[in-house]
Subunit: 487 residues, 2 copies
Amino acid sequence: MDDAAHMTPDEFRRCGYALVDRIARYMEEIERYPVLSQVRPGSVRERLPRAAPEHGEPFADVLRDVDEIIVPGLTHWQSPSFFAYFPANASGPAILGDLLSSGLGVQGMLWATSPACTELETHVLDWLVDLLGLPGRFLSTAAGGGVIQDSASSSTLTALIAARERATAGAVNERGVVYGAAPRLIAYTSRHAHSSVEKAMKIAGMGSGNLRLVDADAGYAMRADALESAIAADRAAGATPVMVSATLGTTSSGAVDPLRAIGELCRREGVWLHVDAAHAGSATICPEHRALIDGVEHADSYTFNPHKWLLTNFDCNCFWVADRAALIDALSVLPEFLRNRATESGEVIDYRDWHVPLGRRFRALKLWFVIRHYGAEGLRAHVRRSVELAGWFASRVEESGEFELAAPVSVGLVCFRHRAGDALNQTLMDRLNASGALYLTHTRLDDRLVLRLAVGAPATRREHVEAAWTRIVETARGLTGGTPAPA
Amino acid sequence: MDDAAHMTPDEFRRCGYALVDRIARYMEEIERYPVLSQVRPGSVRERLPRAAPEHGEPFADVLRDVDEIIVPGLTHWQSPSFFAYFPANASGPAILGDLLSSGLGVQGMLWATSPACTELETHVLDWLVDLLGLPGRFLSTAAGGGVIQDSASSSTLTALIAARERATAGAVNERGVVYGAAPRLIAYTSRHAHSSVEKAMKIAGMGSGNLRLVDADAGYAMRADALESAIAADRAAGATPVMVSATLGTTSSGAVDPLRAIGELCRREGVWLHVDAAHAGSATICPEHRALIDGVEHADSYTFNPHKWLLTNFDCNCFWVADRAALIDALSVLPEFLRNRATESGEVIDYRDWHVPLGRRFRALKLWFVIRHYGAEGLRAHVRRSVELAGWFASRVEESGEFELAAPVSVGLVCFRHRAGDALNQTLMDRLNASGALYLTHTRLDDRLVLRLAVGAPATRREHVEAAWTRIVETARGLTGGTPAPA
């Protein structure tokens, strides 16, 4: 092949500068775009050629199509008026850390395949144990350790596999779960927990029917007494409780399960405790939010997503275990082509045994870049601003008469609704999102439609939350004929 | 928080240019580095501060530490003298496509969360069906469709879950696999297949003991007659055959399982056929390598890694299914917060149901950038050069007298050994890798140590393969006292 087909280092400089400029311009202009993409299904595809090009094309043509075809088809997660789902933080240092990862192009499946890739990841995840106030048993210098995965869904699956094997002394891994005499394997989570737990139960062959959705209290947090009863009932029926997944900040309403009571119960019962703090976990970098993790010293595994609210681009999920041997025993497979002396001596970590995939990119770079750029104080300031703005919005809701809070305000998340009922709230949300001025999503609580406003995009400032509130109120008044609904 | 803590667009431009320059310089200087990192365990960590910084640091300080701490701890997968494992291709357009993905920071879990992210992915994977000569049943415009995952390990797990549910009519997903009367669920793969199949069996709760490692022929390819016997024996014992994973290009030796015979058998038996073409799959972009996939029209799922040999940075695994409904049925979980009208009408794809994680980044951009930059002819030229260079090396081995081929030469991969036996080969490999001049890895075939030379890094030219051969011969002669070993 003619080497000319590869992009030379000089061409890479030129095209790289152009793309850096394009991204900087996207940052500058992001408020001009409708937050929720307004395109109809198929409209992006119909502008793309039916067949791949036979001959290479200039980079400028690709960038033109990015502007004309791709950008109009985006929903702008980095918009300061993106309040849907949870935030998916990007930041300059994270983008650049990821760029360096791509540029170096190394693989971190084994320590030996790029020692810095493994060691920086282990080190930065140890840093985070301290920054977040997590227990020392999660440190790599103790018996634990942390790893970066793509998502909390994958981490929860990983935890479930490790828990399943601990509960069955490795029998499922070896023989599968069909052998007749085996007891049923049960997991527990809140009725309001994320669907990832049900998905993990299916993938792990344990069955969604063996997931107990434990009743919640009035604030949508799991009831520890209901969990205790469920475990007792299962044991009485001859089943084996395997894992409890406690949620700190549910996706639906931000509810925080009572970790200490759940943790003490799990410890007594010998059940693996997994803690899913995907969104709210970022908050514990602030001492004033450490109450969230009271009792976490009883957890066997813990996960949160810097790619949600800690300024580090997706994918960057952090997952810790207290006993790394349990994890590695459950997931290790060692074929000849992966054997090497450093591994067999046990003196290094090979992250391939810590998750589903074998290959892995150098994701620790972006987390390291972020922590160094912002410093702990900068990360705390970002969390605090989001919490403050969400609190401001919640106060407006409470004062309004027309609207009400639908759940206790959680860190950065406000669940609210118009008092006029589901139909009005649905229409209100659809109008707001169609306006392009902001984007928010919904959930159902107590069988009523609830609107969610999640604050946390790095670009979001006071003016954006104020503008959102004004538009929400005015749109609702337009729908109700200008009259505030009865309180 | 003071907005000054965020990197402004102007700072992003400045730091972005500096990093683009740094990466370009890495490309220019990569031959100066020892290919296999020479550091000892712990040496990277001991240069990092024990605690995270409290205050933010200048970007220049971070880049300095990249040079001084990180780069010396890398194994250089992009080196032209990297011949270990399989290649992990990076390229200018792929790096920039990934940079744009980071810069846009959108999430593609649902069509609605960024329509372009879903539609470009579907479209480019349809392009690849044509480019690679795959059957039309994998097209999204038929009943199939493709998706980007992180690795072939994850795709194989995904296929196994879909196959498991098809074989049990969804029963395992609902009830788990413990219910007493259920038959054992069996999967089959070659004795020489990748460990990802065993790992998937464990994760899926099916048990590594229910994976049949089918005997291979003299060229290390699965024997279709042995597979047929194994399936018959399991059926006779009351077990349920669930999936066959056929390998096109094993990791160990590049062996190609006889796909047509296996496919016809799977079709007759009603067993899901998954095809793992992780490395060799890139070759079928060249018509002269289409014999590799003869019979692929019988496959239920197919996977290959552009991040290995098709110039697209990790992570970029492509996975297709012939019947997307089977996949979605197996993996779909639909909580309230993810419901939306476009999904429920069935007119769009929501990729969250196609794999383990929920969140997903815009990975199609890099694949699109690569296909447009190189064009089909550029991609074919890259594959052809690797195959030609591997063929040249194999010819030297055959002519040498001291060395011999240890397996049929596969696309881009040569398995060889010195005739003087395992101890010499082990020492030879260790010396070569410690020299820093090149990096190759080993496997075992017929219980003998075998060296693997995998050609495929974008920077590798004839001179690098020639230099590798010269060094291999000279190092071996140094070890054997200068005398060629007896033929």
